[in-house]
């Protein structure tokens, strides 16, 4: 569609091409609408990305950009009556999940793909022992006796670093700290060895030191078992730290996609660049997204043309018009990256080291 970048040659990294040749998860042109008082509003607008086998892909963006909605729609967990996937496709290992019968989808969830949530304090059922909650998932997908499922639960609890796992399996969630509960969540998600795990800000609610431990754990688990991870975060530092590739979202769209090193070295979308400037030193895990002047637009009042233009330092008149149909299409660039910017070939944006 667009000729390859004419700027400085993009630093290339192996495995960059959109999940490589063997993607395990392919999300294509996803459009999601929510019922609101003002009618059905489009919240996700043509979201596409893919995840290679064993790859860790970060989804970054400000609050309200649609990261959680994207994650939930991949698993078919959106609220059934107030939301709708109106277009697009989600393929897990070649199997289409959009429109799949509820019973079949339930069998896939927790087995081939599972999810970890932001709030460890409220994401485990307070009325059941943690070992039983994990064993229930194992039995659901693997069958067998309670005894063998419980043994498996103890095994994964041990794997995620819960000390004295056999005893702790008989404890209730309120008897664990936040960090330990998040380990339990990871154990539950990993119990059936899924191909893909989606982690929606799994460390945001935790103390900084605990955050680092949980990130290490996720990295280890993913490496050891070849699990692909979709890591949703506000935190560009975390993306630099543990992700192979990054998907940057803004206002319900993917605006840039690249291998992490390329993205940081040379962003190709002004929004990505602005995120990096707002977060001066990319050191460690302390780099949270600081604010970019202006506000994220709300669904239903999206700016015409490029959705970022009211806040973009590089905006020109034609950014308001967009491409032929009044939107800005995503542009495929060399090195397997892409950017949703009209001026992508005119601009040279500052990255970080």
């Amino acid at each position: 569609m667009t000729p390859a970048s004419t700027g400085a040659p993009a630093p290339s990294t192996a495995g960059g091409a959109a999940g490589g040749t063997d993607p395990v998860l392919v999300v294509e042109d996803l459009e999601v609408r929510f019922a609101t008082d003002g009618g059905w509003l489009t919240v996700l607008d043509g979201v596409s990305f893919s995840v290679g086998r064993g790859e860790t892909v970060g989804i970054v963006g400000e609050s309200g950009s649609g990261k959680t909605v994207t994650s939930l729609s991949v698993l078919g967990l959106l609220p059934p009556h107030s939301s709708r996937i109106t277009r697009g496709s989600v393929r897990l290992d070649g199997v289409e999940l959009v429109g799949m019968a509820r019973r079949k989808l339930e069998a896939v969830r927790g087995d081939d793909i599972s999810m970890i949530f932001q709030e460890p304090m409220t994401s485990l059922n307070p009325a059941f022992k943690v070992g039983d909650q994990i064993a229930e998932v194992v039995r659901r997908h693997r069958g067998g006796s309670w005894r063998s499922a419980t043994a498996r639960a103890v095994e994964v609890l041990d794997e995620v670093g819960i000390p004295d796992a056999a005893r702790r399996a008989r404890s209730f969630p309120h008897e664990f700290s936040g960090g330990m509960r998040q380990r339990v969540m990871i154990a539950m998600a990993m119990a059936c060895r899924p191909k893909v795990i989606i982690a929606d800000e799994p460390t945001t609610a935790l103390d900084v030191t605990i955050q680092a431990q949980v990130l290490d754990l996720m990295r280890t688990m993913s490496r050891e078992h070849g699990t692909a991870v979709v890591f949703v975060t506000h935190d560009l530092g975390v993306v630099a730290d543990i992700c192979d590739r990054a998907v940057v979202m803004y206002a319900g769209q993917v605006v840039e996609q690249a291998v992490v090193d390329d993205l940081y070295h040379r962003p190709r979308h002004p929004y990505t660049a602005a995120l990096m400037t707002a977060m001066p030193q990319l050191t460690g895990r302390s780099g949270r997204l600081a604010t970019i002047p202006g506000r994220t637009p709300a669904p239903g009042s999206m700016p015409a043309g490029c959705r970022f233009h009211p806040r973009c330092a590089h905006a020109v008149d034609r950014c308001v018009d967009g491409d032929a149909d009044g939107r800005v299409e995503i542009r495929e660039l060399a090195g397997g990256r892409s950017s949703r910017c009209l001026r992508v070939h005119e601009l040279t944006l500052e990255g970080t080291e």
Partner: protein, 314 residues
């Protein structure tokens, strides 16, 4: 857990003491002189005095209370002022009947309320919920005796499916016993069903919005399991509380329903005792009813420990 249970049981002791005080004070509050009532309107002053002496009414109040409470602890609640029946014996004969009516009503209530509450909670705001809510408001606003009379007219007189009145002891056959309990159970159960539906609808709906429900779904648990296991166990605490309250309501409600259906239960006995100012009988009925209500509350409290593990530590 055993510690928690023990604590709850011990907490009943001061409560029982208060109830016994209140029950005893009934004697002082009931208008008229029981001695006159018993000796008869035409009795002479001497006869009345003799009666008073016989009943121990001349003793100091404290002595009277200790005497009464002491016997009550051994299960002796005195003798009826009118028949020479022992109060404990009369209650023991009637109580199983009232328990049966209460159990029938609670069974009806749960059979209606659990499915209705679940459907309403899961389909909140859509037509199944509207329908359940409508029936719940109708159920709550209909007086029991009226429902009872209506049921008798339709299901006993127009279509004689169930007997209109009477009671068959369980010893004469479970079938006949249950058959007799259907209409009283329906009569009393509808209001209770409505209350439980309302509570279950609200609390289950709240629970279904919780993060851990999403976790259960994200791990592939079946929709039905998520609702029936993960949802209900968490939604149960306020529902069980309401069920506990409703047992008290049912014991009270049985007074009317036993009248309507001619059932020889505790309610029937209570009405007679009040009309006759049969004070020992009234005291006995109140004490036994209070004890039952307390035991139900104890069961409710203990269920909290099971339903909500956090309570056990407290």
């Amino acid at each position: 857990m055993p510690q928690y249970a023990l604590k709850r049981v011990l907490m009943m002791v001061p409560l029982l003491f208060l109830v016994s005080l209140g029950v005893f004070a009934l004697v002082l509050l009931i208008p008229g002189d029981p001695a006159i009532t018993i000796a008869g309107e035409n009795a002479t002053e001497a006869q009345i005095e003799a009666t008073r002496e016989r009943l121990g009414l001349n003793d100091p109040v404290i002595v009277q209370y200790l005497g009464w409470a002491g016997s009550a602890l051994t299960g002796d609640l005195g003798t009826s002022l009118f028949s020479n029946e022992s109060v404990s014996g009369a209650i023991a004969a009637r109580f199983p009947v009232t328990i049966a009516v209460t159990a029938a009503a609670m069974t009806v209530a749960l059979l209606i309320a659990v499915p209705a509450g679940i459907i309403a909670a899961v389909h909140r705001g859509r037509w199944p919920d509207r329908l359940a809510t409508l029936f719940a408001s109708i159920g709550i606003s209909m007086p029991n005796f009226w429902v009872g009379i209506l049921l008798i007219i339709v299901l006993a007189l127009m279509f004689p499916i169930f007997p209109a009145v009477g009671y068959t002891p369980i010893s004469e056959g479970i079938g006949a016993w249950a058959h007799n309990l259907v209409l009283p159970g329906l009569t009393l159960g509808t209001t209770v069903a409505a209350e439980i539906t309302r509570q279950l609808r609200g609390s289950l709906h709240d629970v279904m919005q919780q993060d851990y429900i999403r976790t259960a779904r994200a791990n592939g648990l079946r929709g039905g399991v998520v609702i029936a296991k993960h949802g209900l166990k968490n939604a149960a605490v306020p529902v069980v509380t309401v069920i506990g309250f409703q047992v008290g309501f049912l014991l009270g409600g049985s007074v009317i329903v036993e009248r309507v259906f001619g059932i020889p239960g505790l309610g029937d006995l209570a009405i007679r005792a009040v009309l006759q100012r049969d004070i020992p009988m009234i005291q006995g009925i109140v004490v036994v009813t209070a004890l039952v209500v307390m035991l139900v509350n104890l069961a409710v409290d203990l269920s909290y420990g099971y339903l909500n593990p956090k309570v056990r530590q407290g």
